[in-house]
Symmetry: C2
């Protein structure tokens, strides 16, 4: 008896890197960032309805491998992500990622996707969604300190979602800055390369720090930062990795994603355990204040949280509808009789004719 | 400028359900079970060298979704697995699974595989690897209480690894028993269908319990179990799900995989927190005793542990060498310059000719 062909349930849609790139161009990069920000904001607004847990990390001398699960009771999502700062020197990505969305009621996976690109997009979309609420009104210029893989995504998200028209770049490696200048050349942004962090932040209402050192570093010192700016700190995202002088944190109103994770991984790991922070979702739903004066320094101490990946996978699932930007992976064993897994295997034996 | 083709690093070997079935037949089912048992035993023997953590579970009204990670410092593995008892009634698998192996030094995934079939094999291989050490000498007959998806795998593993030649079957649903009889018809095992659990265990030196009820059930009562048997209890594997009367546990020498997980999920959740158990890896390396007399009742309270999945993925990776039983998934974004993720995306834009 020949094996029955697998049913639809056996196939999980898979979005490869190539298909992800096609899909992003199909939607347009800036539009994709705006749409992602909407999904992320929707999920931040229903923050209490998620099952939340700090990520499950496996540390080694060279880096970390993490699983980031969450669920809203209907869908379950998780991301696999690594962080290996030494990879760049070997021609590898510091961060690679993939993720899965599953149905809570059956436990069956319904989407598998590359998430290196998707994470780059969702990180920038989250930063801009937050900056739109916290940056001073009419912000037009962002300083971008650290010109690595995330830089262009940040610049375009701040353009598409906050409305900036100028980016001032600084990196200790001028080649990284040249790369960003080149990549942003035809985006409509005014791009200025600067010789120091201090020069980059001149006239900027938004300061984004995103450097890759896995150690306590001080990208911004206290006396560099004036009143009335929004700091978007995304580089400090694991224990022992920070970018800002504690004096800046003390002068700022600090906003975070999920305090139990941020106190371990974020800039505030430098501060006492009871250092006051505001959960950003509360600003969105109106139970906490955002910016309250033009003179205030607001600071988003962002480490990346599982709900943002969940939102991104949810958005991706909707993007895929009616497109062919995915393959179908035969990933779930699906015998005709669910108790007859062995029979399914037995019937798949090579027939004597075929042997 | 056209996008550069992705390098080898961008591709992750993927073993589909179809390829897993082909691969198992290629190696032979009984031989595959023996080889898996060897990999699992190897890893049990170096148990202290693993990074261990209880699985990360997300419970819902209908079931559970779990992530089971572990690492030996060189490779990292995790399995996604669900458990939804109600699925069977809807024609779905109670348990489906997939897993990933990654390189600790770079964080890059190196293997993605279906694991519904592979888990069925590794569960049976683990049971038999343990029974070979704990069952009374010369065990020839196994009682199989619960004739669901795991039953045939258990029978063949006990044949291939322990050397049994008879299986006595019992299930509350006679159709399940008939399914196992049919599937084992040409395997060389003597297969006997029984009308009760009590009848099934007559003359059996090994008693395997594997039923699917998610509630406290008593498949075996205390007075049914005589001296000198080995009980392989694999059905009780989550909080609130047990199969054995506590009186049996009290009379047995109980062996477990990883106590912090078994005390929550296994048969011993019915016993006091300090109920004495032996970690089975210690029997293998000689720091704890296994069976010490013919009259003893030994009991393997098995809930399934991440290291067994890690061993299975490691074995699978070796099985794949020199074969074509896998596809290559374009899962890892791999720009020429690792800092130039955006440039890679930009260069993948549809050209004007193609548009």
């Amino acid at each position: 008896m020949p094996a029955s062909p697998p049913s639809d349930l056996a196939f999980v849609p898979f979005v490869s890197v190539q298909n992800m790139m096609r899909l992003i161009h199909h939607r347009g990069i800036e539009n994709a960032l705006r749409e992602l920000a909407e999904y992320i904001e929707e999920d931040f607004r229903r923050w209490p309805s998620f099952n939340k847990t700090p990520r499950v990390a496996s540390h080694s001398a060279d880096g970390v491998i993490e699983l980031m699960p969450t669920s809203d009771g209907e869908s379950y999502g998780f991301k696999y992500v690594n962080g290996h700062p030494k990879n760049t020197a070997e021609g590898l990505q510091t961060v690679t990622a993939f993720g899965v969305l599953a149905e809570v009621s059956s436990g069956y996976p319904v989407l598998l996707s590359e998430m290196t690109l998707l994470t780059a997009l969702r990180t920038a979309a989250t930063s801009a969604m937050v900056a739109r609420r916290l940056a001073p009104g009419g912000a037009r210029c962002m300083a971008m300190i650290g010109n690595g893989a995330q830089a262009e995504f940040q610049a375009l998200a701040m353009k598409a979602i906050v409305g900036i028209d100028e980016v001032r770049l600084y990196d200790i490696d001028p080649a990284a800055t040249r790369k960003v200048q080149r990549n942003l050349a035809s985006t409509g942004l005014t791009v200025t390369a600067c010789a120091s962090a201090q020069e980059a932040i001149l006239g900027a209402q938004i300061i984004t720090t995103c450097t890759a050192d896995k150690q306590y570093a001080t990208i911004l010192t206290d006396n560099m930062v004036g009143a009335g700016v929004h700091i978007n700190a995304i580089g400090g995202d694991c224990p022992g990795k920070t970018e800002l002088h504690p004096g800046i944190l003390a002068r700022s109103e600090v906003f975070v994603e999920y305090p139990p994770q941020t106190r371990i991984e974020g800039e505030i790991q430098q501060m006492p355990e009871d250092f006051p922070v505001t959960e950003f979702w509360e600003v969105l739903v109106g139970t906490a204040k955002g910016r309250t004066s033009d003179q205030q320094i607001t600071l988003f101490d962002s480490v990346g949280f599982a709900i943002e990946d969940f939102s991104a996978l949810r958005c991706l699932r909707d993007w895929l509808k009616g497109t062919s930007y995915f393959e179908r992976l035969d990933m779930i064993a699906d015998p005709d009789d669910p108790r007859d897994l062995f029979g399914m295997l037995q019937r798949a034996a090579p027939s004597e004719d075929a042997a």
